[in-house]
Symmetry: C2
Subunit: 338 residues, 2 copies
């Protein structure tokens, strides 16, 4: 039986996952947030500014219509960046819609509300359609450019509902993309959001040219501060040491193609944030997430010195070199983890 | 008061740390295992096959004499690779020597005995001098080439004796090399030994060109299997998530200069192990450690599929591509960590 999937978003992950799903025999409808994007993508099947050398299969239906978007849909994939989820779902969700499983690949924390992607969607859906929908997060070391080339990758499908996790696993699992079920949705979403902030710091290290030893220490310290926050929010510690935790953190900090790491590297070389963001067609989720993450840490009284340093550089004019030196020279005589 | 340090070994880490100690005002005596190495190093102060562009300070005394090697020594640094520690210490240790703190930077597990570096030294010392000496391990993301350039790095000084850990911290702590005390010696040594094995697997991924996503998943899975073994051996779980655990693992898996990763990359490209080992002046600790690690895991009934796969490639003629595919396709439906 053909699975009908609605893919929200035409960014890197939306494109790559639409291709994967079609290869599995799914019928995929891709929704573009911008009506202007529909015709070029529909006719050329290319998105050169986002994913060079990638071709979207002809079988993928491309639309920006919302009226019948979820008609006949078995699974919705949210590939809308975190800060736009509320606006998009406010257009989509409405009374009378049949509840349908939703899986998100967005990784961030909403400004002001400090909600995670599945929490934002659930809030809007309950507000507008009256009942909750099954939620899932698909997360792991999944740099889109490598997935576009079908290089091997892994991810977890995390849901509080085991049946939904298995449904997502079945939909996405292919020989080159192994999907494991997971039950710690909060942990997986916190790990996914926070790693983008640490990756900006890792990029700063690259931009300053201070080496792999420093970047690896930063990865370990970054992981420790993510764990502190996650555990405080009710997540399980071991989630952060799995593929959606340290695995995703590693690829985001080391893969040269990652957008958050690249943004950090440009900052480290002295470029200005506004210029960096203006020069990319993709959303750098880590930038707004840095603010939300620091707010969330403050609310729960959790110390996150690396996130704070990134916040200082992004929004308070802190010099990257001073920030990295400051992190190196913190007066912790005895190592503390988690 | 001048600290007198005896540095055992003239490899990469021995050279780099001798330089660091001299910069701190220590008096350093470097012992070369090979008498033939003494005169070239003493006169040229260079070791081009091991560390290009590095110059050993004139103040470092270079010797291969063992008779009065530890006379007046406050601290011994063991930079002898694991498989040679027993032979070297059998020459050095003797009745009547005054007990002296020893810190090791070797990372491995001795063949057959399956002992860790400090355990090997302690066994020889007790056998030959009659009483135990204070032991410490210095470990972290410390690729020698970066340290030679004085790029910032961090490490832990791990000892069951807090005073010894602080002594080592005081000796090595400089502005560009931050040393933290730690009390889980077993955990730090297991982490240091096992990461070299995972790094060979990471190099295989590089040699096969399968990308950062796969390598990062492997890092997470590798960390999980190291934790399983470490906890079984009485180490603390959180040790593996600190700088000497995941921090060292990350730099070893990602820094292009690491010897173990490089060995794996060459294997992945189809080169033969004997040729690879013959072509380097440095010891690739991960190769013998793979055998010991698998033996240790078997003895404690701990599953270490990545270490097993590396063993298969190194010693049983397993094809790297088949090994990596095998790891990707393991039938774990639900992610398990630690």
């Amino acid at each position: 039986m053909t699975v009908h999937v609605t893919m929200l978003g035409d960014g890197q992950m939306g494109l790559v996952l639409a291709d994967l799903l079609v290869s599995q025999g799914a019928a995929v409808r891709m929704w573009c947030p911008s009506p202007d994007a529909v015709e070029p993508l529909r006719t050329t099947r290319m998105s050169p500014t986002r994913l060079p050398d990638f071709r979207l299969p002809d079988a993928v239906e491309v639309t920006s219509d919302v009226d019948h978007l979820l008609d006949g849909t078995d699974l919705v994939v949210n590939a809308i960046p975190t800060q736009y989820i509320r606006a998009v779902w406010t257009r989509i969700a409405r009374p009378g819609l049949v509840p349908c499983p939703v899986v998100t690949v967005a990784k961030g924390i909403e400004a002001t509300t400090l909600l995670l992607p599945t929490e934002i969607m659930q809030q809007v859906i309950v507000d507008r359609s009256g009942s909750p929908w099954p939620m899932c997060a698909l997360s792991g070391p999944t740099i889109a450019r490598e997935m576009a080339a079908r290089l091997p990758a892994t991810a977890v499908a995390a849901s509080e509902d085991g049946a939904v996790a298995r449904l997502v696993q079945d939909a996405f699992n292919v020989s080159w993309f192994r999907v494991y079920t997971h039950d710690d949705l909060t942990g997986v979403e916190i790990a996914g959001a926070a790693k983008n902030v640490i990756a900006i710091a890792a990029g700063l290290v690259d931009g300053l040219g201070v080496g792999y030893n420093a970047k690896s220490a930063l990865l370990a310290r970054g992981l420790a501060e993510i764990v502190r926050l996650g555990v405080e929010l009710g997540a399980r510690r071991e989630t952060f040491f799995g593929i959606a935790g340290v695995g995703d953190l590693a690829t985001t900090c080391f893969c040269p193609h990652g957008r958050n790491r690249t943004c950090g590297e440009q900052l480290g070389r002295g470029e200005h944030l506004d210029d960096i963001l203006a020069s990319t067609a993709s959303v750098v989720e880590g930038v707004p997430t840095t603010r939300s993450l620091c707010d969330l840490a403050a609310r729960h009284d959790v110390e996150m010195p690396i996130a704070r340093a990134v916040h200082g550089i992004l929004f308070e004019g802190l010099d990257p070199r001073d920030a990295i030196s400051g992190l190196m020279e913190r007066e912790a005589k005895q190592e503390q983890v988690g």
